[in-house]
């Protein structure tokens, strides 16, 4: 039976997750891949790896190789190796910390200077403002809106790995961009995956559709 089916189209994308220590990179990855949240992840040394397989249509699956990279600044010389052959990038910061934006610029420059997308263009990067479930926020939406444009991010959103807010949506957004880049598509993005409209800032369980 099976051999009558066409081999499904399988895409493999390598996605980097970078940002300062303890902004929630590992938690984000675990939420996305396993839909779980724990308080007790071991700190990342070097890189942690994860894989998410997403069925995007009847005959297409996308494998996302997630490279969850340790956040300490002094590891920077090693990041060149880690960044190699990536297709997309997430730069994450903690909404509750005050010097976050400065460090975001550092991370963005680090990524842009060491790595390009396969077609030679800058790596598509999204900016994620994590821990949006916590009440204390140091950066306003207006700031982020102009900041992300100024620094050439393809989009930004608030997320909460803990509550599962905008985790799947942001990954889906990045995935669509990577797929479009690969197929050189010029069709306009569908509205459903635009990220520049942030989710309501309510606390709660989040309204995302779980992909199981």
């Amino acid at each position: 039976m099976n051999d009558t089916y066409p081999v499904p189209d399988e895409k493999l994308f390598k996605v980097l997750i970078v940002g300062d220590p303890t902004v929630g990179k590992t938690s984000f990855v675990q939420r996305y891949v396993q839909n779980t949240f724990r308080k007790d992840y071991k700190g990342t040394v070097g890189v942690d790896f994860a894989l998410k397989v997403v069925r995007t249509s009847e005959n297409q699956t996308v494998k996302l190789q997630l490279w969850d990279i340790a956040g300490q600044e002094r590891f920077t010389w090693m990041t060149r190796v880690y960044y190699k052959d990536s297709h997309g990038c997430i730069i994450m910061f903690d909404l509750g910390k005050d010097n976050s934006l400065e460090n975001i610029i550092k991370w963005k420059n680090d990524v842009d200077s060491k790595c390009k997308a396969p077609d030679g263009s800058p790596l598509p990067c999204i900016l994620l403002a994590n821990k949006c479930d916590l009440p204390d926020k140091q950066v306003t939406r207006e700031e982020l809106e102009s900041f992300h444009k100024q620094h050439n991010f393809i989009g930004w959103t608030e997320t909460s790995a803990k509550e599962g807010i905008m985790v799947n949506e942001s990954m889906k957004f990045l995935m669509e961009i990577m797929l479009r880049r690969e197929s050189n598509s010029t069709e306009p993005m569908s509205d459903s995956i635009r990220l520049d409209v942030p989710p309501p800032r309510t606390q709660g369980t989040g309204s995302q559709n779980e992909e199981n």
Partner: protein
């Protein structure tokens, strides 16, 4: 001692009447072979898995929590025991086919039924839970038509078979428990013996004995936890002449610095920022060190000790500072030594060439170590080496984690401690030998994994990694390429 988590398989609640049995008047037999434990619910009983409980019920007083479960099993078993309903997960199998969790049963309570209950129902519950020897064949209720003699006979036989099977199973399990206990006793006795030899023969004459055949053999078998700290301290030595006084000075400086960080809101410029950032990072990282042990987290017994040690080190070696991964090394030392001694060992250990190169992130030296490792990898495990090369799984992606934490993050802690033992005996070469031992042990699995699964496997090794098997694999690794030993290969790769 190890804690075993017992899965909650089925909960039996005395007053749960959500399931009403429909077959009124039938003898109800609940075969209960599951472990029931839930400390949070006082009304729940704990039954060791090795026992079978037959619970009789004529009037539907007792019921299982899950009605669907009960209906499924009852329909499955309805044919085998006419007129009787058997409930329970294992009811369809003969009792001999118990799951292997039996092995753990040596650690379970000896009494047939321990009841954790504060409610008034506990007493009545005791009445109905009994071991298989208490299985009673009740006469048929008088309000039902009498059975035919054949049927009566058949049921009696079935009943006798059940009792016999249960008795056999109990005997068998008792034997297994005894064996398990004996094994455990033997291991404990060996450890006690080894500790005695360490204490009486080796430690008092350390310099004389440390390289003796006897000491080396004992060392390889794993140092008993009781003397581990002492042996490690002697093996690491104190070339740096760090004193307890120096530790205290560094400690008070660290505390001052931390206070400053807390007081000043504005970040300072230049080098200071990084140092302070690493001070701050320590706090963040401590909680992420062996989180499952729950002792290094804020409020845990070792939180302050680990914090102090790492803070003191940053003051002792400001040029190195704190690097992620150090917290694991410090934590392993703290688990085996008093704080000042742990600090002395930590400082000396990190001063060894390999760790100094890695924690200072000396790019050239790190690459030299990777290259040397690759040479031994290709020499020892050519097939796997090819596979890794093809799937682009390079050594830096997993070896960094192993070296930074001396395997403490990727391996179960008890196995990691045994690697530490021999690492402290043989030096940095052993780190690479152990790494290749890990690959050797898991070679067949790894050959089947692609890049991402291989990388995941290596950064989080299986929880059931057995130390003895690992050490056999490590033993099979030859640390020479041609006539060159590790140091010579490293020398070649670093120039």
């Amino acid at each position: 001692p190890r804690l075993y988590q017992i899965p909650l398989l089925r909960v039996y609640r005395k007053h749960d009447r959500s399931l009403q049995d429909t077959s009124a008047g039938h003898i109800m037999i609940y075969v209960c072979t599951d472990i029931m434990e839930d400390a949070s619910r006082n009304t729940v009983s704990i039954c060791p898995v090795r026992r079978i409980f037959f619970i009789f019920d004529f009037r539907n007083v007792f019921a299982w929590k899950s009605s669907r479960d009960a209906q499924n099993t009852s329909s499955n078993n309805g044919g085998t025991a006419p007129g009787w309903k058997l409930f329970g997960r294992l009811a369809s199998k003969p009792p001999e086919q118990e799951p292997t969790t039996d092995l753990e049963s040596g650690r379970l309570p000896e009494s047939p039924a321990s009841i954790r209950s504060t409610g008034s129902g506990s007493k009545r519950y005791e009445d109905i839970v009994a071991s298989s020897s208490a299985l009673i064949l009740h006469n048929r209720p008088s309000n039902l038509p009498a059975k035919s003699q054949d049927e009566e006979q058949k049921h009696r036989q079935e009943y006798e078979q059940m009792v016999e099977a249960a008795r056999k199973k109990e005997l068998k399990e008792a034997k297994q428990r005894k064996k398990q206990l004996q094994r455990q006793l033997k291991v404990e006795e060996q450890l006690a013996n080894a500790a005695r030899i360490w204490n009486n023969e080796i430690l008092p004459k350390w310099d004389l004995m440390k390289s003796s055949r006897k000491a080396r053999d004992l060392w390889w078998q794993g140092i008993p936890p009781a003397v581990r700290g002492k042996v490690w301290k002697l093996a690491i030595g104190n070339d740096l002449n760090v004193t307890h006084q120096l530790y205290n000075i560094c400690l008070s400086r660290a505390q001052e610095r931390l206070k400053e960080v807390g007081d000043t809101e504005t970040p300072q410029s230049g080098d200071n920022v990084d140092k302070e950032a690493s001070m701050e990072l320590i706090q963040l990282d401590i909680a992420r060190t062996f989180p499952h042990l729950c002792i290094f987290q804020r409020g845990g017994p070792y939180y302050d000790i680990l914090h102090c040690l790492l803070g003191a080190y940053v003051c002792y070696r400001p040029d190195v500072g704190y690097v992620q991964g150090m917290s694991f090394i410090a934590a392993v030392l703290i688990l085996n030594l008093e704080a000042p001694d742990a600090f002395i060992c930590f400082a000396n250990l990190l001063n060894r060439p390999c760790h100094m190169a890695f924690f200072c992130l000396n790019q050239n030296l790190m690459n030299a170590y990777y290259a040397a490792y690759n040479d031994f990898f290709r020499e020892n495990l050519p097939r796997l080496y090819c596979h890794f090369t093809e799937s682009l799984l390079s050594a830096d992606l997993y070896l960094l984690d192993w070296l930074y934490t001396v395997f403490a993050k990727a391996m179960p802690l008890d196995v990691a401690c045994r690697v530490w033992d021999v690492f402290l005996r043989d030096g940095e070469e052993f780190l690479f030998k152990a790494a290749l031992g890990v690959l050797h042990l898991n070679q067949e699995v790894l050959l089947k994994l692609d890049f991402i699964h291989g990388a995941q496997f290596l950064t989080k090794l299986p929880d059931d990694l057995a130390a003895d098997q690992l050490f056999k694999s490590i033993e099979s690794i030859h640390m020479n390429v041609g006539k060159q030993k590790f140091a010579e290969v490293l020398h070649t790769t670093s120039t």
